[in-house]
Amino acid sequence: MSFLSYLINGVSLGSIYAIIALGYTMVYGIARMLNFAHGDVIMVGAFAIFTAVSTLGLPSLAGILIAVLVCTVLGLAIETVAYRPLRGASSLAVLITAIGVSYLLQNVALLIFGSNARQFTSVVHIPNVKLAGGALSISGETIVTIASCLLIMIALTTFINRTKIGQAMLAVSEDRGAATLMGINVNKTIAVTFAIGSALAAIAGALLCSTYPSLTPYTGSMPGIKAFTAAVFGGIGSIPGALLGGIILGVVENLSKAYISSQLSDAIVFSLLILILLVRPTGILGKKIHEKV
């Protein structure tokens, strides 16, 4: 029974990684850049909820909506100010800028909120579910996290395949030059991608801090890195890949903590990443791209 409990917790953790990984994978797929500030947008979202719910006393749902709004605006602002001017620059310059934005967000949050940890009030108000006569207890947060993750995956896949702007995103990711010639506004498409990614970051922030209720200006950085790993794991640029990568990562992390060593769990997770990349350099569901000479 404890195995089942570890497994469910792992899937829940993996679902959060998967939602964060979506932000990385979409931006990479479409803009060909690694947005390392994504983890910190999550932190900003969590602080927005914290301020709305715990400081201003608004209901949780209003808090989440405010956070989605704040993060969307922030994502668009970052894209316009920091990344758009570098569209033609080398990918290394963009990467360094992204790291810069990440530190900027962390330090601004440090300035405003200070370094003290805050206990985050859960936005989920569902009681724990007890199965097998109380031997297996699943928290409301776990259920909501897994459900939200599946819902987001379905909604996003439908959006990309069924809407015009979604098709434009696909076109830009395949060939930016050709997409421009076909009359697609590349800048607008990339901005929409950032907006969606950042809105998802706000939701990830809500779920992350509801399950693991400690909030500091550094809250987003480690989950951000793990989610990036999950995105690479599943094949960066692929949406189902982000889901698969996130969940494998979460489950492996929790099971290795339980059965191998609580100290080595991260080492095991990252060794697995190296192994997978040795066998499949583009990740589990990554597309092989044949460069034409």
């Binding site: 404890s2 409990s5 570890y6 917790n9 953790l13 914290f50 715990s54 440090l110 200070g114 370094s115 003290n116 940890a117 805050r118 206990q119 985050f120 009030t121 724990n128 207890s137 928290s139 399950t211 693991y212 209720p213 400690s214 500091t216 550094y218 809250t219 480690m222 989950p223 992390e253 929790n254 903590k257 339980a258 060593s261 609580s262 100290q263 769990s265 991260d266």
Partner: protein, 408 residues
Amino acid sequence: MKKLISLGLAVAMAASLTACGGNGAKETTAAGNTTAAATDTTAAAAGDTTAAASAEGGVLKVGVIGPLTGAAAVYGTAVANGADLAVKEINAAGGIDGMMIELNAQDDEHDPQKSVNAYNTLKDWGAQMIVGSVTSDPCIAVSAETEVDNMFQITPSGSAVECVAPDNVFRVCFADPDQGTASAKYIGENKLATKIAIIYDSSTSYSSGIREAFVAEAGSQGLEIVADEAFTADTNTDFSVQLDKAKEAGAELVFLPIYYQEASVILKQASDKEFAPVFFGCDGMDGILAVENFDTSLAEGLMLLTPFSTTEDSSKAFTEAYVAAYGIDPNQFAADSYDAVYAIAAAAKQAGITADMNASDICDAMKPAMTEISIDGLTGSGMTWNAQGEPDKEPKAVKIVNGVYEMQ
């Protein structure tokens, strides 16, 4: 017109330069004056004599190193404030035999490299002694430097064993192993539990140091360690697996030699799991009640070994003065550094330190003097030091009852 403005600006600049030129002692004495004036009327006169004395007694320059910004800023600012308060009091009371103390606090962001940079900045400023560094790893880096320079150093809170390895370094807080041993003894002697689970941070020397000593002592106290679980700085948000394992193993007491930030999450997750053993922490647990938005009822019954509590009678005066000066409650780091400055003052008096001595001579005189003094500080009465730099004082256990510390 423009010329007139620039002339005015130049004059103003020259004036401000001369104002800066009037040395730092003036500032310190001025501060002394205000504190003294606040206490009673005769003190105003005492303040005047201080001004005269500062001219003959000179100024002892003491550098403070700690994380004033960054993740550990709570500790660094508390140490800077505690030292500042002690210095103001000492100067207002006439200094160390007429010698004033001047402080200069430098930020190290809890980073060993930046801590060494901060030390170098303080050397350039002319520091004759160092209070710091606040956190263990930066402190180890700085103590290696002060050993080379033969600079007297006292760390308020660097608790890793290696912090005081050189014989020019002393500390106010307990060493990590001492806390582990003391915790095991306390649990054993008071029969709090026999089945113990440990959850510790394997990525800090603080936590693993305490855990090691605890494990070593547990056997002789008749304690059985049923779960020994670790986490690292990168996995410090989810403890569900560790708690599940402790629960399954039937632990009656969970020993948490960790900082309060992680502990607050552990308490929350344990309550979600309806797992209610006794939780027992060390000095890093101090501050848990101040975590913003933390449901303090979760910490009910939590026990910790801490050298300082604001609710004790002996710390009331300090707590009031601290709150009046800095607007927040002092924590044990503030108390540690307050004691550190008083220890410096007592040892400097004992050794007959004068402001014109160089840092190396001061250090040679301070080393034996530190072992000869005994002070009644906030973190222990009758504190003494041995030549290795370790303090000798009694640990105090507190239990959280109705949201406040209750001495045990």
